[in-house]
């Protein structure tokens, strides 16, 4: 107790001094939902920026992912939001731009380092404004247990026929569950199932853009086939898959009880920590030997500027830096599985991440089908596809019914 007063005085003096030291620095804060990346930002990314800009102090202040949108909107309305805002893709960020919360940064130097497809996730429909710098994408595909494949003498499947042959072989052997996926949380069914292998049948971007222009419908053969594939997956899922949650599937796979896991590159870090066997990845199989394969290379994270920021220059300097090759390299290798969207030549060091990024060279890229524009109805098609795909896999809806329902959702409000 005797040391309390002097210590408090020392603390207060110390705080004042650090306040003086900070006084000539501009402090800017970053809003984000990636709380799990705190260490990466504090330890790697921000020091690199601050070394170049000693006059700017950047602080990474994330919110829990599920509360991010609600909390951020409340802070924006109250004028207490950070200077830099991490953007979700498409309508969520667009709504913030329309509300005047995100600044237009179309003239930001460095934006030419990004493709139009990457920028489309954070631009207005007409493309006259861009409000976030594209940051990273995640690639969908399948992960597999290399040890299990070697044990059963299986090859990585390249076509649909190979894929089912491999699944049949695993099922027949019986020592592994062929595929780890459940429908309990619903979103995996759509995200890892329908939007993962669907592009193979609707031809990636071609099919997606045709939906947007009204030339194609979900009831078309190409889109129904995606749901039909989901029906075909049923026999390869584990017992009681209806009550199998996302974490159950993750555990099934990392414990080595399942051989194949439909997923995306965002799992890399976690899986490499937990699995004690060798992991491999393969792209969604092509329709047949003559067709090309398609991957969902989904634009997932962008970074923009609070329109009401008091530190416009510092915020712009930071955004400009996020377009650089240095930032792209730091991000891609610190968080393997989140691939920079910039056109810089980045060396990916993580072996599994390399397998994913190699798919970009072999397959045609597209994004998740319902994310751009199509999710503006009620219910948002992105969410509705969760329910529909889960229903198909649970057997309570046929592929044709699910497709008709999805098209009815679009028809109810969308006029191409």
């Amino acid at each position: 107790m005797r040391g309390f007063v002097p210590r408090t005085v020392a603390l207060a003096v110390g705080l004042c001094l650090s306040g003086i030291a900070l006084a000539d620095k501009t402090v800017i804060t970053i809003e984000s939902w990636r709380a799990e990346d705190q260490a990466i930002w504090d330890g790697l990314i921000l020091p690199a920026f601050e070394a170049e800009h000693p006059d700017i102090d950047v602080q990474f202040k994330p919110t829990t992912a599920t509360e991010y949108n609600a909390a951020l909107n409340a802070r924006l309305a109250g004028g207490t939001a950070g200077d830099i805002i991490t953007c979700r893709p498409f309508d969520n960020a667009l709504a913030m731009y329309d509300a005047g919360n995100l600044a237009d940064i179309k003239d930001l130097p460095g934006l030419e380092n990004f493709s139009d497809v990457a920028k489309s996730a954070w631009s207005t429909d007409a493309g006259d404004a861009t409000f976030c710098v594209p940051m990273a994408s995640v690639i969908h595909g399948f992960m597999y247990n290399k040890d299990a494949f070697a044990e059963l003498g299986l090859e990585v499947p390249a076509t649909e026929a190979d894929f089912y042959a491999v699944l049949d072989a695993i099922k027949e052997d019986g020592s592994y569950i062929p595929m780890a996926m459940g429908t309990k949380d619903q979103w995996e069914a759509a995200t890892m199932g329908y939007t993962n292998i669907g592009p193979t049948y609707w031809g990636g971007e071609e099919g997606r853009l045709a939906l947007l222009s009204g030339d194609a419908k979900f009831t078309d053969e190409a889109f129904v086939e995606g749901f039909r594939q989901m029906e075909k997956w049923i026999p390869y899922l584990g017992n009681g898959y209806q009550a199998q949650s996302y974490t159950d599937s993750q555990n099934l796979f990392t414990l080595g009880r399942a051989a194949i896991y439909p997923t995306g590159s965002w799992e890399i870090t976690g899986f490499q920590e937990n699995a004690d066997f060798e992991l491999g990845a393969f792209a969604p199989p092509a329709k047949d030997a003559d067709s090309s394969c398609y991957i969902s290379d989904h634009t997932d994270i962008g970074i923009g500027m609070n329109a009401a920021t008091k530190n416009k220059d510092a915020a712009r300097a930071f955004l400009e830096w996020t377009t650089s090759a240095e930032f792209a390299g730091l991000l891609t290798n610190a968080a393997p599985g989140f691939f920079s969207l910039a056109s810089h030549d980045i060396t990916v060091e993580n072996e599994l991440a390399k397998e994913f990024i190699a798919m970009r060279g072999e397959c045609e890229p597209t994004i998740r089908v319902a994310h751009q524009i199509l999710s503006r109805g009620e219910p948002a098609l992105g969410n509705h596809l969760w329910t529909l795909t889960a229903n198909v896999i649970n057997g309570s809806m046929s592929a044709a019914e699910a497709a008709a329902d999805a098209q009815a959702n679009v028809d109810s409000w969308y006029k191409p």
Partner: protein, 314 residues
């Protein structure tokens, strides 16, 4: 006494002043944290956003809630599930609680305190813990249920109950009953202990056995508590059911919205869910509709039932 009070005015004035002082804290706290938010959310339900500005639209949101298929389907589905939840609680939870309370209040029962604690323990657990434990118990992958059922020779009867549209709501209800049976149990138990010993003795002397004493003497005497438990179940089923469903089935209340209740529906409307953007005005409308449903239920009870209940003073 009354004469003295009416003839001298100063003490009366002072007494009024005291009443205000004592009422003030509760009134203030309830006004700020309960009454004001209720009115504010009722007011919000009369507005909608146009170009980011709230615009008064009267009852249009309510017309939307009950008229547009997207909203009406969800609303009636959630309402139907809530009613089902309420009926199951009334038919299963409260009779079990009453039976256990009747057993516990037998004076000769040994270890009553231990049983009482055991029955009440789950109520003290966090809903998140209960949700997690039961998900594990019922899990087709790691759960003890499939193995236990196999050991009993009924392994082929096991189903992934939480994942099937036909059984998810009932399963969730049974889990909720497991957790909360302690509360009506305690209320019944306290009421049964209050039944005067002389009355029971008189009944016994008149030749009634334990069974009939319960039905003819004890039950009529604790009828007000039964009514109270019924209305608490009604309110809890609309407000508290959100926690267990959100922790077991998530915000989409799957499979295929078969466990969706007003609480989860309100949550999705107000805060949005993933690709679905939140709409605070429709959220407030759902919340207000929920408020009216509870109001009507409680009103019916207060005016229709409670006034007719006779309280027997010992």
């Amino acid at each position: 006494m009354t004469q003295a009070a009416s003839t001298s005015t100063p003490p009366r004035a002072r007494r009024r002043w005291y009443i205000l002082v004592f009422l003030a804290p509760a009134t203030l706290i309830y006004t700020v944290f309960a009454i004001y938010p209720i009115f504010e959310s009722l007011r919000l339900s009369l507005y909608t956003a146009q170009e980011n500005q709230p615009v008064f639209v009267g009852l249009a949101n309510y017309a939307k809630l009950l008229g547009e298929p997207y909203w009406a389907d969800q609303f009636w589905n959630a309402f139907k599930n809530n009613i089902q939840l309420f009926l199951l609680h009334m038919l299963i939870q409260n009779p079990i609680a009453l039976a256990l309370a009747a057993l516990l209040s037998i004076p000769t029962l040994k270890g009553a305190a231990t049983y009482r604690t055991i029955f009440f323990l789950p109520t003290l657990l966090s809903v998140v813990v209960v949700g997690f434990i039961w998900q594990l118990i019922l899990s087709p992958l790691w759960g003890v249920t499939p193995d236990a059922m196999k050991a009993l020779g009924i392994g082929n009867l096991f189903r992934p109950w939480l994942g099937l549209e036909s059984s998810a709501l009932v399963t969730v209800t049974l889990i909720s009953i497991w957790q909360y049976v302690g509360i009506p149990l305690m209320l019944f138990y306290a009421a049964l202990l209050n039944v005067p010993e002389e009355t029971i003795e008189a009944a016994r002397i008149d030749g009634l056995n334990g069974w009939w004493i319960f039905w003819k003497v004890k039950l009529p005497l604790i009828l007000p508590t039964l009514g109270l438990v019924a209305i608490l179940t009604y309110i809890g089923n609309f407000t508290a059911s959100f926690d267990i469903i959100y922790s077991l089935q998530g915000g989409m209340a799957g499979p295929n919205f078969s466990t969706d209740v007003m609480g989860t529906f309100l949550f999705r409307s107000f805060f949005g869910f993933q690709a679905q953007l939140g709409d605070e005005y429709m959220g407030a409308t759902v919340a207000s509709a929920l408020f009216f449903i509870i109001l009507v239920g409680v009103g019916c009870y207060l005016f229709g039932v409670q006034r007719r209940l006779q309280r027997y003073d010992s």
